[in-house]
Amino acid sequence: MTTDQILARLGLGDTASPLHDRIRARMNLHAVLPRLHELAILDDEARGVAAGLDLRLEMAVLGGPRMGLVFDQGRITASRDARGSLGLLFPSACALNRMFDGEKVVPIPHGSLWKLTQMKGFEKLTTILTRYLKPAATDLADPAFRARHVELSLLVGLSACDAIFALDPKVERVRGALHDATIQYDVGDAVSAFVTIEQGVITAHRGRVANPTAGIRIRDVDLAVDLIAGKVDTFAAVGVCDLKLYGMLPVVDEFNALFDRVGLYLN
């Protein structure tokens, strides 16, 4: 019997949770958490909080996915390879997800426990991030907030496709067909992001890439806000050129088969 199987029997470890939760946990760690990097660039308050942190934090599910965050002089970097001096270990994917849902969960801390005092700053950052990802109507009235909401949500959605591709059984057909590619996303002149697909690893980035395989131009931030809220008929939007597709369109189709499923996990 493997260690994972022993842990699962005890109700512990990554594989003890239902697949849906395991996919969500990967999204939370690999798609949501890394957005703190962009948050510290885009949001003044977040940048101020980050400036007060000196921390190498590692969050992990027992026997499962992990993510390292480095807070250094106001800059936040995220990497699956980065090791933390302070670790927070969650006994299961479900436990990790509960924390991201705002429930009180006590992970197992390890390493430089004296750094736990800095967790308040970390929590403050996640609260700000949540404000952008689950915005109130009053916040969305601010054009600058809307643009940041679009950028952060887009990066979360694009990054989350990696977990879908890796684990979601519904995309088996795409798994066999997804080509290496870069797809550019532009929202008016306000937001640009792109996703790279390389040998089944999907990563999202801010900005523009030269000579993308395909791309989508969204008319403006207002339309993007409605798209994120699920209020837009995307096919109709393509027909009236509110959404412009270009390049190798089958790549967009393949990727959208993943992208369309993100909402099933992250709401």
Partner: protein
């Protein structure tokens, strides 16, 4: 010249989007061309031209994605259809036209001993799989990766609404790779019901690839060795390469041939023909639909096939296609651009070399559409018998302008 605009098309699309999923779905969706540069709605056609809702005239190189092989509004085909329409089309029974059309197909298609009829290409490609499975009492079907055999779940590339069991018995190999096909046959020996192939490889978003020398010889040898049913999906290429089926053009003998598109010059009909080997199996499969025996379409098909034969239309289309293909190469070269013009002249295609994202092609075809010439950016084109040298010359003149735009925008 003033460029076309598509305001009425776009307004109609907005109406459509409220009451029709996607507004316009499938292969004619705006999304698969270049929205903003192409029309969305047609009103009427004549010969090799049609008009859109905004009144723009198009010199057409898609022929309704293949069906219009003699030209739009062909008088002889329309007359035959009208004559039958006056008598009625759908009854409790087939009309004698079904027998006449089956006899006609059997007489001109060398491998055919029988024929059946349906409405769409997908009807007959799926029926072909059923016949193969019934005949062999086996399960697996082999197809070429990237090939298109219709919208049924076993072969469609889309994922929406598809579950793994829909395609669990479908195996894929790389077109022209006989070794890979042989390996699949060997690996699944005793369970290969059929191999379905388009006569040549004509994927969307790619160059067309003709069969490699010896490829079909090996396919037929494997058919004999592993006793599967060989299916030629001639839905797209049928009636533009050889009146006896595209298999005659490429020199192979399938057990079944699927037809649709050009068989009735735009009237709604598909057909499957087969040899005696699989006739009993074909009888066993329950194959029907509300309109499979509609007589108007059969009258149109008989007139279409007769006209194609009498006018030696394929030879004419071949010449027109060669004029177009050669002209495109020459004009591209004049502008210092490298293009890949592929496929048989009657079903040509063009892409820009060393480009995987189609940006040049999208620009080229979008500019051509705004100047009244319909070249699809991602799908092979079609020549009709209505195209004449002057039409090709007009198209090449527009292509010349569009190559200049591409060169200016993208460089060589």
């Amino acid at each position: 010249m003033s460029l076309y605009s598509f305001k009425k098309s776009e307004a109609m699309f907005q109406r459509a989007a409220k009451v029709i999923p996607c507004g316009i779905g499938g292969h004619v969706s705006p999304a698969v061309t270049v929205p903003g540069s192409f029309p969305y709605y047609a009103t009427h056609g004549k010969g090799c031209r049609y008009w859109d809702l905004d009144g723009n005239e198009f010199l057409d190189f898609m022929c309704a994605y293949g069906p219009v092989v003699l030209g739009y509004d062909h008088p002889r085909v329309n007359e035959a259809a009208a004559k039958q329409r006056a008598l009625g089309s759908v009854f409790n029974h087939p009309t004698p036209l079904a027998v006449e059309l089956a006899e006609k197909l059997v007489s001109i298609v060398p491998i055919a001993d029988w024929a059946s009829f349906a409405r769409n290409g997908s009807d007959v490609t799926y029926y072909a799989l059923q016949v193969a499975r019934q005949y062999t009492q086996k399960t697996k079907i082999i197809m070429a990766r990237g090939a298109y055999h219709g919208t049924h779940p076993w072969s469609i590339h889309s994922m929406a609404g598809i579950i793994p069991s829909d395609y669990e018995h479908i195996l894929q190999f790389t077109w022209n790779n006989a070794d890979e096909l042989r390996d699949l046959c060997k690996k699944h020996e005793g369970d290969i019901a059929g191999v379905i192939l388009t006569p040549y490889h004509h994927p969307a978003f790619g160059d067309q690839v003709l069969p490699a020398p010896g490829f079909y010889d090996e396919v037929m040898r494997l058919r004999d060795q592993y006793d599967f049913v060989l299916i030629s999906d001639d839905v797209r290429a049928g009636w533009r390469l050889n009146m006896g089926g595209s298999c005659e053009h490429f020199g192979f003998k399938p057990d079944l041939i699927c037809y649709c598109k050009a068989i009735a010059n735009g009237y709604v009909l598909s057909a499957i023909v087969g040899n005696d080997r699989v006739k009993q199996a074909a009888s066993s499969v329950f194959f029907t639909g509300s309109f499979f025996q509609a007589a108007v379409e059969m009258a149109a098909a008989l007139a279409t096939i007769d006209e194609l034969e009498k006018t030696n239309a394929i030879a004419h289309m071949w010449k027109m296609g060669e004029l177009l293909q050669n002209g495109l190469r020459e004009r591209a070269e004049k502008h210092g651009l490298q293009v890949s013009v592929t496929g048989p002249p009657t079903i040509p295609n063009m892409t820009f070399k060393n480009e995987t994202n189609f940006l040049r092609m999208q620009r080229f075809s979008g500019e051509a559409a705004k100047r009244g010439v319909f070249f699809h950016p991602h799908h092979n084109w079609f020549i009709s018998a209505a195209h004449q040298p002057a039409d090709i010359e007009q198209a090449l003149g527009v292509a010349d302008e569009c190559f200049a735009i591409v060169r200016q925008e993208f460089g060589s």
